[in-house]
């Protein structure tokens, strides 16, 4: 058992152990806090130390046993390579920050114990997804993440919208998972094994491979909230803000992107699948950015923004920008988690996240203002923050594929490029709008105050990461690629300058609209389109009409079938038996004379029979 192999297993098991003990001692708040923070912290330290070994050159696939299935066996195997360990460190780091933050944010919550245990379980599951070599083992982690996410969204289950959002998230992601499962079976059948290492080495271009990979994209669309399975993410904001930061910004939704990266060797052989991914990403990017423009709730702006940025990552992967897409994943994790936690601070301070109720927070919450400015600047893509470099590398990869060819058809690359540029404009607009509404303009009525240290420190840490990752722009992607693919981040001047112009244009548009509305909501300039955008282009309404109502009607039909068809058979059989039972009762009326009559009749019959037999 090598150090790396054991380390990887321990990284997965530690948060799981923290989850189990956290559940056991959940009622003792201080102990639960310590268990949660220590478990995640130890996992982080271990992940970093194993990561150092792996970045230094140690690669390992460790197997812990085989499960025979009668078809393709399932190998309980973990994989330690730069991709897994980079993401493992990222997951552990964000999880640790969120756990520390939660000790304060949910400090007085009566269900803190179960919350912290579920977050630890979730961390363990995500680490399993990232470190697994076998697709079915990955699926185990994938599904556990899904259930933890649904349970955590429903943390405030007293609220009907939280309950509804939890069920919605579960159902929508599982719809995608059906395609995912079949896709995995196709891949396993093609390669004779579920292990990614074997699949990558064995598969060849074929229609079956394309079909399998497109099915896997269903699961990616569900988990990473891409059109048409994006509908659960905005509603998931009903959960606690640290959960939004961890699960719905940095880690779980990134699992879809990670899966594409993991199976990249196979995807490179299927341009059709890449084209499908590109179209999905391009549509989602713009769609989500437009929806973010009209939201009233700051958290929903961030949720739609996450959907849009995930589309960026997937678009980057689709055009062949492996390291670009993954770099954007990591930098997005940092600044989006930062933004969500800062939004949590605002919610903690003034009790609401509605932009219409905020204003002028720049003076009252100075530190939060600067932190959120850094986060929004990274989102928009302002140099020298990490967001600028990662976004530019995605756009450059798209330009490269459009002009010089790549692993997907040319038109698809152009689509990603144009959608990406349009989204840069829109991102600057909605981020600018949020910034102006929250921190500038007329002060809100509610007095605000700065948060306690447990909430501030993770914010400082994530801000530092957002800034520092910018500096790592040229080292990190190479580290991700090392030994696997041609390296790095290349910035093309044309797209970079074009996108900076678009950023300025978007920000300016938001600013002038804001001034025109007398420093109230710039989105009012959208006019009649505003409610449609705010409603996510009425996609929810479409799903309700085409899917939800028919299912309810079918359910009512089934109940009616049970009530009016089967139930009468059951009660009818009872009634028949009772009627049959009542028949002899006709002879038992309690009338003595009737009984004697019966005896007499019987005697006469017996006598006649006796005489006849003689």
């Amino acid at each position: 058992m090598s150090y790396v192999g054991a380390g990887v297993a321990l990284v997965i098991v530690l948060p799981f152990a923290a989850a189990v003990t956290g559940m056991a001692f959940g009622k003792q708040r201080l102990l639960a806090q310590r268990i949660a923070v220590t478990g995640t912290g130890l996992a982080l330290v271990l992940a970093i130390s194993v990561g150092v070994a792996v970045w230094g050159g140690d690669r390992e696939i460790s197997s812990w046993g085989t499960i025979p299935t009668g078809w393709v066996p399932i190998e309980i195997a973990t994989r330690a390579d730069p991709l897994s360990l980079t993401l493992a460190v990222m997951v552990a780091a964000v999880a640790f920050a969120v756990q520390v933050y939660s000790t304060s944010y949910l400090g007085r919550d009566p269900r803190y114990g179960s919350y912290a245990a579920l977050v630890s379980l979730f961390t363990s599951a995500m680490l399993l997804v990232v470190l697994a070599d076998d697709l079915i083992i990955l699926l185990v982690g994938w599904e556990i993440m899904g259930i933890c996410s649904a349970l955590l969204i429903g943390h405030y289950w007293e609220l009907p919208e939280a309950r509804a959002a939890a069920v919605k998230a579960f159902i929508v992601t599982h719809l995608g998972d059906m395609g995912l499962l079949i896709g995995f079976f196709v891949l396993g059948d093609l390669a004779g094994s579920f292990q990614v290492s074997v699949i990558a080495a064995t598969v060849e271009p074929s229609t079956t491979l394309t079909v399998g990979l497109v099915l896997v994209l269903c699961g990616v669309a569900g988990k990473s909230a891409q059109v048409p399975l994006h509908v659960w993410l905005p509603d998931a904001m009903a959960g606690p803000t640290p959960i939004s930061a961890l699960i719905h910004a940095a880690t779980m939704v990134a699992a879809g992107v990670f899966l594409v990266a993991r199976l990249y060797d196979a995807y490179l052989l299927a341009p059709v699948a890449m084209a499908v991914l590109a179209v999905m990403a391009a549509v989602t990017m713009v769609f989500a950015a437009l929806s973010a423009l009209a939201q009233d709730d700051l958290k929903r702006v961030l949720a739609w923004s996450t959907t849009s940025q995930l589309a960026y990552m997937l678009g980057g992967l689709a055009v062949g920008g492996y390291s670009a897409g993954l770099f954007h994943l990591i930098s997005h994790a940092a600044f989006k988690a930062l933004l969500f936690l800062a939004a949590g601070v605002i919610a903690y301070a003034i009790g609401t996240t509605l932009l219409s109720r905020m204003g002028g927070l720049r003076t009252e919450m100075r530190r939060t203002y600067w932190i959120m400015t850094i986060g929004l600047a990274a989102l928009v893509g302002i140099p020298p923050l990490a967001g600028f470099f990662s976004k530019e590398s995605v756009l450059s990869a798209a330009e490269e594929a459009a002009l010089h060819g790549g692993p997907l058809p040319g038109w698809a690359a152009w689509l990603v490029l144009l959608a990406g540029l349009l989204t840069v404009l829109l991102t600057a607009a909605y981020a600018g709008r949020a910034w102006l509404l929250a921190f500038h303009g007329h002060p809100s009525e509610v007095p605000a105050h700065e948060p306690p240290p447990a909430m501030r420190l993770p914010l400082y840490g994530l801000s530092a990461a957002t800034i520092v990752l910018g500096a790592l722009a040229f080292w990190l992607p190479t580290a991700l690629d090392r030994g696997v693919r041609p390296a790095g981040v290349q910035l093309h001047w044309v797209t970079t300058i074009l996108s900076l112009i678009l950023v300025a244009a978007g920000g300016y548009a938001a600013y002038t609209a804001w001034l025109r509305e007398a420093q109230r909501d710039p989105a009012a300039q959208l006019g009649p389109a505003r409610p449609v955008f705010a409603d996510g282009m009425r996609v929810d309404a479409i799903y309700e009409a085409t899917v939800v109502r028919p299912v309810y009607a079918l359910a009512r039909l089934v109940v009616a079938g049970d009530r009016y068809v089967i139930h009468p058979y059951v009660t009818g059989s009872g009634r028949v038996v009772r009627s049959l039972g009542r028949l002899p009762g006709a002879f038992q009326r309690g009338k003595v004379q009737q009984y004697v009559t019966a005896v007499l009749a019987a005697v006469v019959v017996l006598a006649l029979v006796g005489v006849a037999v003689r």
Binding site: P160, E161, A164, A165, K168, P234, D235, M237, A238, D297, K299, R300, D540, E544, V548, R549, Y552, A555, R556, V559, D562, R563, H567, T571, G574, R575, R578, G581, R582, P584, G585, A586, Q588, R589, G590, K591, V592, Q593, V596, T597, L600
Partner: protein
Amino acid sequence: MSLAFPLAVSALLFSIGVFGVLARRNAVLLLVSVELMLNAANINLVAFDAWWADALHAGQVLTLFVITIAAAEIGIGLAIVLLVFRARGSSDLDDLGILDERADVPEPIEADIEAPAASEPHEARA
């Protein structure tokens, strides 16, 4: 005299007694009819004893037994009728239906299936 005459009388009396038992509404008259049946049996016994004329005179002996038993039985029977009359206020046999099996049949339990709670799906809005 041939044996037929007492037997015919006995049969006639027995029939009248059976009719009375089956058709009388008054409990006392029912008991009287039972006595009539017993006495018809007694006539039968004595007639046959006269015809057989055996040494033990079994018929006559049995007749004495029947008379005694009838007396005891009618004493108890009348006592019961008296108590029933005191308790129920009437000795009319048609009114004494407590042991009617039909009244004891319980009604079937109707278990109702609940209608689906939310017939209209509601939207989740943050």
